[in-house]
Amino acid sequence: MNFTRWRANHAPWAGLRLFVILVYVFSLGPILITAAVSFNSGNRSFFPPRGFSIRWWERAFAPEWLEPLWFSIKLGSLTALAATLLALPMAFALHRYRFRGRDALLALTLGPLMLPSLVTGVGLLQLFELLGLREYVGFTALIVGHVVICMPFAVRTVAISLSTLPPNLELAAASLGATRWATLRHVVLPLIKTGVVAGAVFAFIHSFTDVNLSIFLARPGEIPITVKILGFLEFGFAPTLAAVAVITLLLPLVLVAIVERVSGLGDFIYGDRK
C-alpha cells in the first residue's frame, strides 16, 4: 500500500483518535488527580502525592461531611420526585394540546435552563423574604429552588419520549375500550418509562451538583455538600477535600451507571430516540 493511500485511510482516524484521547485526558484527568491527592500523607496537597495515607479519607467520613452529604441525597431525591411528578402532566399537556399560552408555558418551563441559577437563587431568597417566609429558608426553600431549576430536565426527557410514541396508539387503546386512565396506565406510561426515569436521574444529578442556587438558600445545619465544600475551600485545599470530592463525584456516577444499565439513559443524551 503506497503512502498517499495510507495517509488517506489513516490520517482522519488518527485525528479522531487524538481528539478522543484529549477528551478523556481533560474530563478524567482532574478526577484522577483529585483522587490521587487525597492519598497524600502530608498536610498539603501535592501531585503526584507524597507518601501514602488514608487518614484524609477517615476524616472525610466524619459527621462534619457525612451530614451535608446525606442532606444533599435527601434534597436531590425529593427534588427528583417532585420535579418528575410535576413534569409528567406538564409534558403531557405540552405534547398533546395546542392551547393559548402554550408557548409561554414552554418558555417558563425551559427558562431556568438558560437563566444562571445564581440569579434564580438571589431572586428566590428575596421572594421568600418579601413573602415573610424567612424561616423557610433552608431545606424548604432549597426544595423549591431545586425543583425550579431541575424540572426542565424532567419535562424535556418526558416530552422526548412522548414524541416517540406512534401516533395512533392512544386512539387504538380507546377503540378497544380503554378509558383515558387505563390508556395512560397500560399503554403510555410503560412506553415512556425510560424517559421518566432518565428525567428523574437528571433532576437528581442537577440538584446534587448545584452550588450556585444552594449557596443563597442554605442555612446552618441545612447545607448541601457542594456549599459545604465551597465554604471549606476558604481555608485552602486540604487533602480531606479531595477525598470528599471523590465521594461526591462517585455517587451520581454510580447512579448514572445503574440507570444506564437498566434503561439505556444514553439514548436521551445522544438523542437516539429522537
Binding site: L169, S175, H186
Partner: protein, 366 residues
C-alpha cells in the same frame, strides 16, 4: 344527499358534519350500513373519508348530526364506550406487548376472565393464521403479520362495527392483493358490519358490497361496484373510478345531445333542460373505432394521434374533428387493430354505452 336507507341499519350516519374552524372536512353525510354489510368510503385524500371514520369511531365529536350504532345514538359517547373495532393504517400495535397481549387488550379492558380470554385470543390469532406467533413482539413481525395482529385485535372483541382505515396501503402489491381477499373472506365468515376507507378504487371494487364515493366532504354516489362503474352520477365519479372519455355537449330541444356540429340521439336524464351543458361519458373499453360512420349512437370523426401497445390491450388516442381528444381501448384478440397514427377514423359508441352527466368543473382528483 343520497341516503341509502336500509331497514334496521347496524350503523346510521344522519346528517353528520365536521368543521375545523372555517374548514369543512365532512359536509353533511347520510349513510345506512346494513347488518353484515361491507361498505367502502372511497375518495381522494382530503375528501373527508378518514374524518368520517374517526367520527364513527368517536375519536372526535361531530359538529352536527347523529350517529346510531344498532339503533342507539352514540355521537356523545367517547370512543371507549362505543362498541367498535378499528384497524389503523400504521396498525398502531402496542410495541411493549406481544401479539397475543395486543389481541388480549380489548378483552382485558372488558374484564373478560383469563381462561376465556386466552381461548378467544387463540381463536382470533388462528382466524388470521398467526396461531403460532402469539408471543412475538410487533417489531419481530413482518408488515403483513402486524396487519393480521391488528385485525385479530379488532375482531376479538366482537364489535358492532369493524372500521378499517386504509389497512392495506403500507403493504407491497402482492401482499395487498392477498389481504384483500382474506379480509373479505373473514368479514363474510363472521358477518361483521364493516366500514372500509381507501383511496384505491381497485380495492373498493373488489371488496365492497357498496361503495360510497366521497368528494369534498360529501358522498357523491353510493352504490354497488357495477352501478358506480357503469352508471356514474357525476363527472367526479366518472373520472375517479376507472378511466373515461368525456365530451362536452348541450341538450337539444329534441332531447338529444349536440357535440360539435352533430346531434346524437342518446338518453338524457329527465331533469336536464334543453340548452343545459353536459358531458357525454364513454368508457374507453366500450368505445369502438371504424373507418365508416356507424349508423346509431355517438360517432365522432377524428385522426389517430398515437397507438400504445400495452400487451393485453392497445390504446388508441384520437384527435377529434370538433377539437376534443378521445381514446379507445382495444382488446388484443389477435386481429390486427388496423389503425396507425394518421388514420382517419370514427370513434363511436352504442347509445346504451353513453352516459349524459351534468357539466361540472373537474373534481378534486389528486
Amino acid at each position: 344527499m343520497i341516503g341509502g336507507s336500509v331497514a334496521d341499519p347496524a350503523l346510521r350516519l344522519s346528517r353528520i358534519e365536521k368543521h375545523y374552524g372555517s374548514t369543512v372536512a365532512v359536509a353533511g353525510i347520510d349513510l345506512d350500513v346494513a347488518e353484515g354489510e361491507f361498505v367502502t368510503l372511497l375518495g381522494p385524500s382530503g375528501c373527508g373519508k378518514t374524518t368520517t371514520l374517526g367520527l364513527i369511531a368517536g375519536f372526535f365529536p361531530p359538529t352536527a348530526g347523529e350517529i346510531y350504532l344498532k339503533g342507539k345514538p352514540v355521537a356523545d359517547l367517547p370512543s371507549f364506550r362505543r362498541d367498535i373495532g378499528v384497524v389503523f393504517q400504521d396498525y398502531a400495535l402496542f410495541p411493549h406487548m406481544t401479539a397475543a397481549e395486543n389481541v388480549a387488550f380489548g378483552l382485558r379492558m372488558r374484564k373478560v376472565g383469563s381462561a376465556q380470554a386466552a381461548k378467544r385470543v387463540q381463536d382470533a390469532l388462528d382466524l388470521v393464521k398467526l396461531g403460532g406467533l402469539g408471543d412475538r413482539r410487533p417489531l419481530q413481525l413482518s408488515g403483513g403479520q402486524r396487519q393480521r395482529v391488528a385485525l385479530a385485535r379488532a375482531l376479538v372483541i366482537n364489535p358492532a362495527v369493524l372500521l378499517l382505515d386504509e389497512p392495506l396501503s403500507n403493504l407491497d402489491l402482492k401482499l395487498r392483493e392477498e389481504m384483500r381477499v382474506e379480509i373479505v373472506s373473514i368479514q363474510r365468515r363472521l358477518g361483521i358490519t364493516t366500514v372500509f376507507v381507501t383511496h384505491d378504487q381497485g380495492e373498493a371494487l373488489v371488496m365492497s358490497d357498496r361503495i360510497a364515493v366521497m368528494n369534498q366532504g360529501r358522498i357523491e354516489q353510493l352504490g354497488d361496484a357495477a352501478s358506480i362503474y357503469e352508471a356514474p352520477a357525476t363527472r367526479f365519479v366518472a373520472e375517479f373510478i376507472g378511466r373515461m372519455n368525456l365530451f362536452t355537449g348541450t341538450v337539444t330541444a329534441e332531447r338529444g345531445v349536440r357535440i360539435g356540429d352533430s346531434t346524437f340521439g342518446i338518453e338524457v336524464p329527465p331533469q336536464m333542460a334543453p340548452g343545459a351543458a353536459v358531458h357525454v361519458a364513454i368508457r374507453p373499453e366500450r368505445a369502438r373505432l371504424s373507418a365508416a360512420r356507424p349508423s346509431e349512437g355517438v360517432a365522432l370523426a377524428g385522426t389517430v394521434r398515437q397507438v400504445f401497445y400495452l400487451g393485453a390491450t392497445r390504446e388508441v388516442h384520437v384527435d377529434l374533428a370538433h377539437g376534443e381528444k378521445g381514446f379507445v381501448e382495444l382488446r388484443n384478440d389477435g386481429s390486427d387493430a388496423g389503425v396507425q397514427a394518421g388514420s382517419a377514423v370514427w370513434l363511436s359508441a352504442a347509445a346504451s354505452n353513453c352516459r349524459v352527466l351534468p357539466a361540472a368543473a373537474p373534481g378534486g382528483r389528486p
